[in-house]
């Protein structure tokens, strides 16, 4: 078990971690997400796939609080109580509900060092430990201990993503693949219950993509949290996801294990258009 793992033991009967019920998000007259319901289980990788413009990123923004859905409810079942995410501010979703995310176009603190990025991610904890930095200003032991713990967690995640040697470098100067991994490490440093990844494999070469699969699997198995990911790269989706939700024009057109999704006629139609005969998409 890592220091990043959950502090509280999960109840034996594992219900869903995230429940999305009848969520609709409209921009003007366009339904980006339309009456969508699904759930994601803890210790599972749930993938959301769909053609461009299917509403995947909008759904993500609703879950992480960057958008407020007009209709529907999103519930996160936390070990210490359930939370209605659509009622929380985006920063409260990250701080209180334990939902962390990464972005399609990486958003690191480019001018800060790799380690600092991971320290910023532990802001909430450190603020509490330092009484809004007052204890830190006075140099109290209480803060120094908290900071040491934070550095330890950061070191742990640097090792997991293989960036220990680059810890003191500027985050913006890292190569693209490293930046992607750092963003995941940063999200994990918030000690989340649910990790949302927006196209984590975009722009990675096949080797990096395979490494990423390993990392995501280890987060699922070793840290015991739920992962929700949007992905275009089918090798990632089919390779590691336990459960797949397929969106098209904001609606859910299929849901199930990857093998079933591969053969689902509605999915094939959405991806390849109307085929003459049933055909398995090459992926």
């Amino acid at each position: 078990m890592s220091p990043g793992a959950t502090d509280v033991a999960r109840p034996a009967s594992e219900g869903p971690l995230l429940n999305v019920e009848h969520v609709s998000m409209r921009f003007g007259g366009l339904f980006a997400v339309n009456d969508l319901s699904f759930s994601a289980a803890p210790r599972q990788i749930t993938a959301v796939i769909g053609p461009n413009g299917a509403g995947k990123t909008t759904l993500f923004n609703c879950i992480t609080g960057f958008y407020k859905p007009q209709i529907g409810q999103i519930t996160l079942h936390h070990p210490n109580g359930s939370m209605r995410l659509e009622r929380l501010d985006d920063h409260a979703i990250a701080a209180k509900a334990g939902v962390a995310r990464t972005f399609q176009n990486i958003r690191l603190f480019a001018k800060m060092s790799v380690l600092e990025n991971l320290m910023v991610a532990q802001h909430t904890r450190l603020m509490r430990a330092s009484v809004f930095s007052l204890a830190g200003l006075l140099g109290l032991a209480r803060y120094r201990r908290a900071e040491r713990d934070a550095v330890e967690l950061a070191r742990h995640w640097l090792e997991r993503v293989g960036l220990t040697a680059q810890a003191d470098e500027e985050a913006g100067s890292l190569p693209y693949g490293h930046q992607r991994r750092l963003e995941i490490a940063r999200a994990m440093c918030t000690r989340p219950q649910l990790l949302c990844l927006d196209e984590p494999a975009a722009g990675l070469n096949p080797r990096e993509s395979a490494e990423l699969n390993g990392l995501l699997r280890s987060i699922r198995d070793d840290d015991g949290i739920g992962l929700l990911l949007i992905e275009h790269d089918m090798s990632v989706v089919m390779g590691i996801s336990d459960h797949v939700v397929v969106l098209d024009y904001g609606r859910k057109i299929a849901e199930g294990p990857p093998v079933a999704i591969k053969a689902d006629p509605a999915v094939i139609r959405a991806y390849l258009g109307e085929p003459d005969e049933a055909e398995v998409p090459s992926c």
């Binding site: 990250a94 958003r107 910023v120 802001h123 999200a187």
Partner: protein, 410 residues
Amino acid sequence: MARRAVIDAALAGLVAAALAFPMLGFRLVDSATGLSLATRFDLVLWAAGLVALGRLGLGLLRASTIGISLSLPALPNIRRPVGWVLAVAALALPLMPFADRNLMDKATLVLIYIMLGWGLNIVVGLAGLLDLGFVAFYAVGAYAYALLSQNFGLSFWVCLPLAGILAAGFGVALGFPVLRLRGDYLAIVTLGFGEIIRVILQNWQDVTGGPAGISGIERPSFFGLSFKASAPEGQQTFAEFFGLDYSTDHRVIFLYFLILILALLTNLFTLRIRRLPVGRAWEALREDEIACRSLGINPTLVKLSAFALGAMFAGFAGSFFATRQGFISPESFTFIESAVILAIVVLGGMGSQIGIVLAALLLVGLPEWFRDLAQYRMLAFGGAMVLIMLWKPSGLLSAREPTIRLGERA
């Protein structure tokens, strides 16, 4: 290549001529018979010619293979020692044989701007919130001290924290409405805020004395010992207590040390808070607000804390200014002051503490020393700014030191 340089030079000459035509070409002459207009077109031609020649020279230089490098070699990590050397030099300055009253006055002025620069650095350099109305908090601090001391008879040492708290309150008051704004929009609103404060000070006659300002502000005392020539009944002056001959220099030196200590405290505070969660959150907010939100950082609190703390130091500096001058009026808190403070921060290299010291010396100190240049002073000032921006576009010291390291210091 040469042809391009010539065309370029001709264009530059034309622009210079167009600019110089109204500015240099005409001159109001105040003669016995009344005002008349004199023309000086020869000066316009000279200006255009000089600019064109200079431009041609630059163009040819650039075209040639030699080329001059405008960049300095990267400085090794000497900032820490430089900081200590500067601090010791500042402490020892009053003891130097050449430290006359004039020099101490100028040094005090520079230190006020250094402190203001360090205060604004929290808002602009660290949190990345462009504030063009910083002088408003300076004014709040100055008026807070002046009014509290005149109306309630409070001493400087009681008023100093009060002025800081009041200025911080105004910082939060400004912060709230501008929370959603960034960059240019934020700059416009803060600019407006600075003017609002000045206009209020100018027009609220009953309280602030309006354009006439407040005079006869109480001077600070050294633990109750005043720096006057004679103390009132039952009290001692500084000179009497220490058995010194009375000299006006005592107060000047005392004020110098006072602002030096205040400025160093500001510096210590900033250096320390950069390594704390709040300070890191400021810098993270400057880099990417959306990422901050996704990590559970409440941007409202982070921004307000930056505004409040930056304003607090301006408030301290303001009450020092009031007690040093003994007289304040809205004239001292115009937009140009905000611009100078911002220029100090930007020129110093956003976020760099030592850079701000150097920039304040350059921007405030040099113009004071070169008063002999009279009307060419501002020209030299402008020229120096252009040169620095050419030579170091991101400020004098722009390299950033991480606030925490995993490995050993490189």
